[in-house]
């Protein structure tokens, strides 16, 4: 494709417009209670956001809001919520073949599929979750194949994938258990074969990496192997640069995931993990975080032993926990992570613990806590506003701010 001068001109214009409107978004948010997730809650507080970043936070009577700033007010203010595992933007609202990009079924192992090439930043469900205060999602290729592809981290605002995305490739999604098993030669048909295929692929990637390293060491004379997008991706897992997010539910599959992590010395996240409560000591000893299934996920198939109390049990043991909306095959097309945390709060998690699973603790697991997850000076101005306890069914989200821009004012 040739780049016409006209095209460049259009691009410049768009960039200029965006920069301009972001720059004008100077906003302060006053809250009766502000949960900063970095220390105690602030009563009668204010968050000041300038040029997209938090520049001041504290008690309202001690912070001067610059003149001409737009001031929003709410009873309860929290950091913008983080959904640690979603398929919004990939699994579209209509649920027709042509708006479903979360799962490529042509082969069981395709870690080379990038999420950014599939993300629909204008998908309707993004607006829906944003209106409940969700500002950041970790989303991408879904469970259902052995290695279905990569994931990304995006803000729930932005016209294009590149405008919305803050981490282009975050993890590689893998599935262990019946969901990835199929009849036929390509996919595994049993648990034993599942692990054999995963191990074989990682060993191949290790050999590829060693070839690359030997070539690099040989300097000019070195002959690097031909580029292989799949093995390159897996190389980033072997180097520890990226984690393997392993979706599984049965305790035996969780144990297999931990074995795999140990054998290849790779970083993994357990995802779903319905029976994680049976292996608390092992998970803790392995230092592995858990992105727990939606609290209200349906208890059938391999999830049939899931519990409303799993998040509470793992948090009590000191395991890093985030909650998720997960993948939904039918209705509702997406869950809302706020509601999943709410039910966890109604089943053993204390209020602030539950809030952590969808803010700062999720940010830490996802490696984005330098930017989001708490209300602190220097972090992104991502804020959710509520008219009461955010977990109460009858409260409303009354506003949502992303990088200082008021992106939702629907009362929902």
């Amino acid at each position: 494709m040739s780049r016409s001068p006209f095209r460049s001109l259009v691009c410049c214009f768009v960039v200029a417009t965006l920069t301009c409107s972001t720059a004008s978004a100077q906003v302060a948010i006053r809250g009766k209670t502000i949960y900063t997730m970095a220390g105690a809650a602030i009563e009668d507080g204010v968050v000041v956001i300038q040029d997209g970043k938090i520049t001041a936070i504290g008690q309202a009577n001690q912070i001067a809001v610059p003149p001409a700033f737009r001031v929003l007010e709410a009873k309860v203010v929290t950091p913008g919520l983080i959904d640690a595992h979603s398929t919004v933007g990939f699994s579209g609202i209509l649920n027709h073949a042509h708006d479903q990009d979360q799962l490529e079924r042509s082969a069981p192992i395709q870690p080379e599929l990038r999420a950014i090439d599939a993300y629909n930043a204008q998908e309707d469900l993004i607006e829906w979750i944003r209106s409940f205060g969700v500002t950041t999602i970790h989303a991408g290729h879904a469970p259902g194949e052995l290695m279905s592809g990569q994931t990304l981290v995006a803000k729930t605002f932005g016209k294009t994938a590149s405008a919305a995305v803050i981490v282009e490739s975050r993890a590689v999604a893998a599935t262990i258990g019946p969901a990835a098993q199929k009849s036929g030669a390509k996919s595994p048909g049993t648990r034993g074969k599942t692990m054999a295929m995963l191990r074989a692929e990682l060993i191949k990637a290790r050999e590829y990496r060693e070839k690359q390293q030997r070539a690099a060491a040989a300097g000019e004379k070195g002959e690097p192997p031909a580029r292989d997008l799949r093995l390159e991706t897996l190389g980033r897992i072997l180097s520890g640069e990226q984690p393997l997010m392993i979706t599984n539910h049965r305790a035996q599959d969780i144990a297999s995931a931990l074995r795999l992590a140990k054998e290849f010395e790779i970083k993994i996240w357990l995802d779903g993990a319905s029976e994680a409560y049976l292996l608390i000591d092992d998970i803790k000893a392995a230092g592995v975080p858990v992105i727990v299934h939606p609290t209200m996920a349906r208890a059938f198939g391999e999830h049939d032993n899931l519990s409303f109390e799993t998040a509470a049990k793992l948090v009590a043991a000191g395991i890093p926990v985030a909650l998720q909306s997960g993948y939904e095959a039918y209705v509702p097309k997406t869950r809302v992570v706020l509601f999943e945390a709410a039910v966890a709060a109604g089943n053993g998690l204390k209020f602030e613990q539950a809030l952590r699973t969808i803010t700062i603790d999720a940010a830490k697991i996802l490696g984005i806590d330098a930017r989001v997850g708490s209300l602190e000076v220097g972090k992104d101005g991502d804020v959710a506003l509520y008219d009461g306890d955010p977990f109460e069914y009858t409260s409303h989200c009354v506003g949502c701010v992303i990088q200082g821009r008021v992106v939702s004012e629907v009362v929902r």
Binding site: I93, R298, F300, G301, K333, F339, V343
Partner: protein, 447 residues
């Protein structure tokens, strides 16, 4: 074997004695906030039950507690009627039950011939404070069969057969409705319809046939020689046209809703509209037809074209239009343990508190034709109720106990009941792994 048999018999006698005791001796629940539904909430009330029925309910001090009553202190708790779920698929372990793939119209099929009473979904339902379910076949057919109104009599003795859940009519027959569907779920390859026009035609054709069948029976005036051969399919449709069987009609889109209203008028059907994702768009039309709606509340719109405009506001909009409105779980679609949440989310989006609580109880009872027996706390009604911690519309609400006809069927303090209430290892056994709309990958291949 014989010895075991005797032991079992002896044990069941003990159980029966307990049951009798709990039903014969009046019980007075004292001090709870009582949500009566048909009258104002009482801050500190008394509920008296005896022999499976409510004998008195009112403010403390105004209600006479019978001599010899077992007094239960429930101060600080909330008591409300057992929830009525107008649309449930619990009990279909291994499938939804009802009609098979042989054709789109199978009204002769009874759901109760396929219900597994050991399905753990029943345990979860009582943990959610539900006491009556309308158990339905799925929506993959224009007419998928007869539904069952089930009372969750889960205790003393534990159910072994579906008969234990029956609510019988004056003829001694188990009560139920007729499940119908239009829109996309019931469209498949032939012999199923492929369009909305064909769907409506096929259904009208059958009802016309049923009307002629009925006319023949009337004309025969009891003469066996003139009677048409018995036809179970047409019989069920005749029951629907005579109002003996309420038609529970799955329908989402506004135009499909209007089609149901036309059909109801043409064949004089007592119809309840189920799901009604687009109900808010034609609320006035529904109100004018005096047809009730049972609404599903789901966490986001979409999942299929027809649910594209589903909104939390639907309940409130229908309420304001004057439509009798209930909610349902559609369990597995939403979990019976969090059924109260449907009402709470509707309140969040504008429905009145009283209307939303009625929509979980009495409105549903009315849609099953059972409002004389259940759905509110009033003297003479069945002693079906739940004792709660916290307000029923709160996320922090917990069902402490559920009672059906004066017998406790759920006790959060009991370790087994607790397991079903929150989940955990073993809680999922005997469950239905398969629904109409999930494929192998979605169910983990566990069909």
């Amino acid at each position: 074997m014989r010895a075991t048999g005797c032991l079992c018999l002896a044990w069941s006698l003990v159980l029966s004695a307990n049951t009798l005791l709990s039903q014969e001796r009046p019980q007075a629940f004292v001090g709870a906030r009582i949500i009566r539904i048909e009258a104002d909430e009482i801050d500190s009330g008394v509920l008296v039950i005896e022999k499976g029925k409510i004998v008195a309910v009112g403010a403390a001090g105004e209600v006479q507690i019978p001599d010899g009553a077992n007094k239960v202190d429930v101060a600080g708790r909330v008591i409300m009627p057992g929830l009525v779920d107008t649309h449930s698929h619990i009990g279909g372990s291994g499938g939804l039950g009802g009609a098979d793939g042989s054709g789109p119209i199978q009204p002769g099929v009874r759901i109760y011939d396929s219900i597994n009473v050991h399905d753990s979904g029943f345990k979860r339902a009582v943990a959610g404070g539900l006491t009556t379910l309308n158990i339905m076949p799925g929506s993959g057919h224009l007419i998928s069969g007869q539904t069952l109104y089930a009372k969750l009599r889960l205790a003393n003795p534990k159910p072994k057969k579906i008969d234990q859940f029956f609510i019988v009519d004056s003829d001694g027959a188990p009560m139920g409705g007729l499940k119908m569907a239009n829109g996309t779920n019931s469209q498949h390859e032939p012999p199923f319809p492929g369009t909305r026009g064909k769907s409506a035609f096929l259904v009208r054709e059958q009802y016309i046939k049923a009307r002629e069948y009925q006319d023949k029976i009337v004309r025969a005036a009891g003469d066996p020689a003139k009677l048409p051969p018995r036809d179970l399919n047409l019989e069920a449709l005749v029951e629907a046209m005579r109002g003996k069987r309420i038609v529970h009609h799955h329908t989402h889109r506004h135009d499909d809703i209007m089609t149901v209203l036309r059909l109801a008028q043409e064949f004089n059907l007592h119809v309840v509209l189920h799901h009604v994702s687009d109900g808010w768009k034609v609320a006035d039309e529904i109100a004018a037809a005096h047809v009730p709606c049972s609404v599903i509340v789901i966490d986001s719109p979409g999942g299929k074209l027809e649910a594209r405009y589903a909104r939390f506001e639907t309940g409130g909009i229908l309420e304001k239009a004057g439509v009798l409105t209930a909610f349902h779980t559609d369990d597995w679609i939403t979990d019976a343990r969090v059924f109260r949440r449907s009402a709470a989310l509707a309140v969040r989006a504008g429905m009145s508190r009283a209307g939303a609580l009625k929509a979980l109880t009495l409105a549903g009872a009315e849609m099953l034709g059972l409002d004389k027996r259940i759905g509110s706390l009033a003297p003479g009604k069945d002693a079906d109720f739940a004792i709660l911690e916290n307000d029923p519309l709160s996320v922090y609400c917990k069902t402490l106990e559920t009672w059906v006809e004066g017998v406790k069927v759920f006790d959060r303090g009991d370790p087994t009941d607790y397991l079903y209430a929150v989940g955990g290892y073993g809680a999922g056994h005997d469950q239905s792994p398969y629904l109409c709309c999930f494929d192998d990958a979605d169910t983990g291949g566990a069909r």
